[in-house]
Symmetry: C2
Subunit: 336 residues, 2 copies
């Protein structure tokens, strides 16, 4: 196994306090690697980073059109949202249109990831429901797909349910990898997550961004989902979130999505490339800094986008009194 | 440099999803290493893991006795507390006794680390003050010391203030390491933090736990602080926290304190040992699992303590629906 590389350092004063190892793959749609750092053959659970791929059947099947999903609703289907009021209302709207209630969601409830939203919810005297789960938009999409398939939606998170079989087939089709059932796990929201080699996730995102090596229907579905995310980036994440800000500033150029445990995937349609990053220890702060550095290196970014990527690739750390005490910075090797 | 070792693995299904590297030193009071994994010579910022050492001048100076600090108040001086109501009231009580207000605290304000406490505070319509800062007890102790030294408390977080000079001298005395000013950083609460070799932090904790190689006054102060923590372990952390539970179950046997960025230190008085752990990437989940495994290995724990350490050394991961999806487990090498 190729050794992992230091991708990100966290400094305090003049010292490096912590460091994050990981791997980076940049691929074209044919699977050619333009950049390979660390072990890119390793199987990685893509977790929420492939929500856009998991949403392909929703669009390809015609379910999204049949239920008239808006850009915001499609963006939310690809989201790990903050549980902010707009996110919750958007998920609730989809479910109501299906004639279902939030009880149909099988993702479990948790307090909003956005801390201000969580506190506001608590201040209102209410508690969280499944609608606040960061995956509620994806699950609303699964319910849409189940309705369109005219199958019972109950148990739609089970690997053998027709919805999850479609979702798995989409991942296999996009990565070109036959999923090994032994490499299955259960995701935070209850659906299966399947490990695939990091490089194949980069290839899948290159295909997602370009439509190359996909059929017309799939290529169109990918375009629809990217257009929705660029039209409604707030619905893919939320206030202050990396993916949201990257797509606000990088609309039509960058499609990017994080996953739990330090996974970050991006498509760069104009360059025909996909990017896949896994931080060995699962830290999102490191995945974000590494992704910013790789996007800055690859993309002909300028102006606000370039400045934002530079900031995110070397993010100052401030203490509770607002004093800058260090920085989370991508390693030099990522930038040059 | 000795390579870091895999100390903790995070599994999902049958796969290892993430892994944490780091180093472990177990030392006696003379500096003899009984266990050394990874690079134990590396300078490490001990952060909040040395709050008990930083509290030594408070006791040694007679300030704690003069202001009649209780066990709860002394425990809070060694704490990274959750900002739960009892913590806040205890810190406020100390400050009031000094004739000061919370404005004298220079640690900055943040929402309680304990999420339920943060939501309850939000629900009350209030916001956080410096009293909710996880370091407010330590800072209240600094104010006590400043009052007892009859020096202006303003600026007590500055490296050159008499309080911080005492605190630094205590760290140098306990570790036996002359602090290199180039190895200084600013901590989350605004005071200086000084990097010291990991093995010397283990030695310092062996001395703290046994009193060996300390003068009578310092040895007594260390006993006073440990007794306070064992008497009031809730005040060292809070609901559900590793250090609190370890000292509830391991009173008189284990004194343990985490610090930010994956540092965890422990004293085992009956064995005459100190333990120091640094996780390279800064993850507290890994520091806790590693510490639990090392304590289980070293300590003649039995009954509830043994069961608790076993659980914390291989902590199940559950998803939002409560399904067990994996485990955060210490590497075999730590247990045997």
């Amino acid at each position: 196994m190729t050794a992992s590389a230091v991708l990100v350092e966290v400094t305090r004063g003049l010292s490096v306090e912590s460091r994050h190892l990981g791997a980076v793959a940049v691929s074209d749609a044919a699977g050619g690697l333009l950049l390979s750092i660390g072990d890119v053959e390793r199987p990685v659970f893509p977790r929420s980073a492939v929500k856009a791929i998991q949403a392909l059947p929703l669009v390809e099947s015609g379910a999204a059109a049949r239920f008239g999903l808006t850009d915001q609703e499609l963006a939310l289907a690809c989201a790990s949202h903050g549980g902010e009021p707009e996110h919750v209302a958007t998920a609730a709207g989809v479910i109501a249109r299906l004639g279902l209630s939030a009880d149909a969601l099988e993702c479990g409830a948790h307090w909003p990831l956005n801390e201000a939203a969580a506190r506001a919810l608590a201040a209102s005297g209410a508690g969280p429901s499944a609608l606040h789960n960061n995956c509620s938009g994806k699950h609303a999409g699964f319910l849409c797909l189940a309705c369109a398939m005219e199958t019972d939606s109950a148990g739609y998170i089970d690997p053998e349910h027709p919805v999850q079989r479609e979702v798995k087939a989409a991942l296999e089709g996009m990565t070109g990898v036959r999923i090994d059932e032994a490499a299955a796990g259960v995701d935070g929201c209850g659906i299966p997550t399947y490990a695939a080699p990091l490089k194949s996730l980069a290839t899948a995102f290159a295909r997602f961004g370009t439509g190359e090596r996909l059929g017309d229907v799939r290529a169109a579905a990918a375009r629809t989902l990217m257009a929705a995310a660029w039209s409604a980036p707030f619905h893919v994440g939320g206030s202050g979130r990396f993916d949201t800000e990257a797509m606000q500033l990088g609309a039509f150029r960058i499609f990017v999505k994080f996953g739990a445990e330090g996974v970050h995937l991006a498509a760069l349609p104009e360059l025909g490339l996909g990017v896949a990053i896994k931080i060995d220890d699962g830290a999102s702060r490191a995945a974000e800094a590494a992704m910013a550095a790789v996007l800055r290196r690859l993309s002909p970014a300028e102006g606000d986008l370039a400045a934002w990527l530079d900031l995110r690739a070397a993010q100052p750390l401030t203490n509770w009194a607002g004093v800058e005490v260090g920085v989370v910075r991508a390693a030099e090797s990522l930038s040059s």
